[in-house]
């Protein structure tokens, strides 16, 4: 157990070291989320001035949705980019032959991603409060914790799937790291309620844990409470997707090992 924690700590240390002397890399954590929030925040602020309280409500939803979307997106990226980092630096074989277990490696990427998300959420909340008088904690209260936890879990599940693809196919599928979250974006009811989607697409949406998080977020803002079923359905779906993602990764890893791809990662 101690050996395992030590290896997880080693990998966390490995990723944290990347930020110690690279300002661009550190700034990149918050750069895009901040830019998005600034642009869309000011747009919604402008709309709010033009219109009434209904639009004001929409402004609150949108700002919240942008922060939440970033949690989902960055948690997926935290896992997959960490894997690809070691392919880029041609270090992956050193890790794969070390006593590091794949599960320990993945846990380290979770912790690294979680740290980045805490930084991002803090920065975005600060900006939202400063420029738009929007207080994330006041709006969502303690419901922030179950909502964020479900987003994190789903992001991690997506990250495991992407990392599996990268392990199996290497550089050829790197574009998917950035693309996969956008596959689920239109169906997750992020910037609009689920009811906006046509009934057929709603069926897809209902299979995504993220839908219940974003619907739940809007419900909390309107009613000051989170329906338990939203949380439980999201958690249940996340559990299923987590297991499926793990099985998928395992399949990809063993496929790469069987095909000889594993030893060649980073060399193509």
């Amino acid at each position: 157990m101690m050996d395992s924690l030590s290896r997880i700590n080693a990998m966390f240390f490995r990723y944290a070291c990347l930020h110690k002397r690279s300002l661009p890399r550190t700034l990149e954590i918050v750069f895009w989320p901040v830019m998005e929030l600034l642009v869309w925040g000011f747009v919604t602020l402008y709309l709010q001035r033009l219109s009434d309280s209904v639009v004001f409500q929409a402004v609150v939803f949108l700002i919240n949705a942008m922060i939440f979307w970033d949690i989902l997106y960055r948690s997926q990226q935290g896992v997959s980019i960490s894997f690809v980092e070691d392919i880029w630096t041609q270090n992956i074989v050193n890790l794969l032959i070390s006593p590091l277990r794949i599960s320990e490696w993945i846990i380290a990427t979770f912790l690294y991603g979680l740290t980045k998300i805490i930084v991002i959420t803090s920065v975005l909340s600060g900006i939202a409060f400063t420029f738009y008088q929007f207080n994330l904690i006041e709006k969502l209260g303690l419901y922030l914790i179950p909502l964020m936890a479900n987003l994190l879990l789903f992001g991690w599940a997506l990250g495991i799937v992407t990392a599996g693809l990268v392990i199996r196919w290497g550089h050829a599928v790197e574009a998917l790291i950035w693309g996969i979250p956008f596959l689920i974006q239109p169906f997750s009811a992020i910037f609009y309620p689920l009811s906006t989607l046509p009934p057929a697409l709603q069926l897809i949406s209902k299979l995504l844990p993220s839908t219940y998080v974003f619907e739940g977020m809007r419900f909390v803002i309107q009613n000051r409470r989170l329906p338990l079923e939203y949380f439980l359905i999201a958690l249940g779906l996340n559990t299923v997707y987590f297991v499926l993602a793990g099985l998928f990764f395992n399949q990809m890893y063993h496929g790469a090992r069987a095909s000889g791809r594993l030893g060649k990662l980073g060399m193509d």
Binding site: F13, T89, I97
Partner: protein, 260 residues
């Protein structure tokens, strides 16, 4: 032509094999990368695995590291299956290759600390210091790895693979990017450490004088097949050659004619 020569004499304990392969085969579609490879490596022995590019050396090493499944045959490392029991083996085995790098964006010391932690090296700061001094790169400890010369990176890779005091070391062209003087120093260090720790080393190189200097025994493979195996002196006699380079050229140019 199959030459199977005598083993160098060692004590019985040292003859416990670290690596054994039996009829090891690996195919990629129609390509036969490895055909019935039989090798054994004992403690305290350096076995040179030689052959031209594409001969199957890397395939064999990847199978022994658990990175690749064999199509058929058996492989055993420290008495265990590298494919099924990689984790039990990993702590006592290490690998360095000219084609595998340490993260370029970490400092030398950070990289070594990372791997010392991954291998659970006790008292790692003094171990790292000892190896940095041995390979004469103590002054680089706070340098970013990406800013090192190729030779310095090679030495760093070798330090990484000695951190865990491995019983078995797999070295894939370890001196390829070193100047002759540094390559000589590195060979002497490796030889010394190997003797002191009674380590087994599987060594690949295209530098034949180096192989002659380093290896107790040699196994030539070509197009996935074993061509010859034995002591360097015996192989030279059998091929009526003065140097291993001449043997190498004979084997490669003869192609299938010289196959067993």
């Amino acid at each position: 032509m199959w030459h199977n020569f005598r083993m160098p004499s060692k004590s019985r304990a040292e003859h416990e094999p670290l690596v054994v392969t039996k009829n090891l085969c690996r195919t990629y579609g129609r390509i036969r990368a490895l055909q019935n490879l039989n090798l054994s490596l004992r403690r305290g022995e350096i076995l040179g695995l030689l052959g031209p590019n594409g001969a199957g050396k890397t395939t064999a090493i990847h199978i022994l590291l658990g990175l690749l499944a064999a199509t058929s045959g058996e492989a055993s490392v420290l008495g265990l299956s590298p494919f099924k029991e990689r984790h039990q083996i990993a702590k006592r085995v290490n690998f360095s290759s000219a084609y595998v790098q340490l993260p370029s964006n970490l400092k030398v010391m950070e990289n070594l600390t990372l791997y010392a932690k991954l291998y659970g090296v006790p008292n790692s700061p003094s171990k790292i210091q000892e190896l940095l001094e041995l390979f004469e790169i103590t002054h680089l400890r706070n340098r970013i790895t990406g800013s090192l010369s190729a030779g310095e990176k090679t030495r760093l890779g070798l330090i990484k693979c000695l951190l865990n005091d491995p019983l078995l070391l797999l070295l894939d062209e370890p001196t390829v990017s070193l100047d002759p003087e540094m390559a000589d120093t590195v060979r002497k260090i490796l030889k010394r450490i190997q003797r002191e720790r009674n380590m087994g080393i599987l060594y690949t190189s295209h530098n034949m004088p180096e192989v002659q200097e380093m290896c107790d025994r040699i196994l030539f493979i070509h197009q996935g097949r074993t061509i010859t195996e034995g002591l360097p002196g015996d192989i030279l006699k059998a091929f009526e050659s003065q140097t291993l380079e001449q043997v190498f050229i004979k084997i490669v140019r003869s192609g299938d004619l010289i196959s067993p």
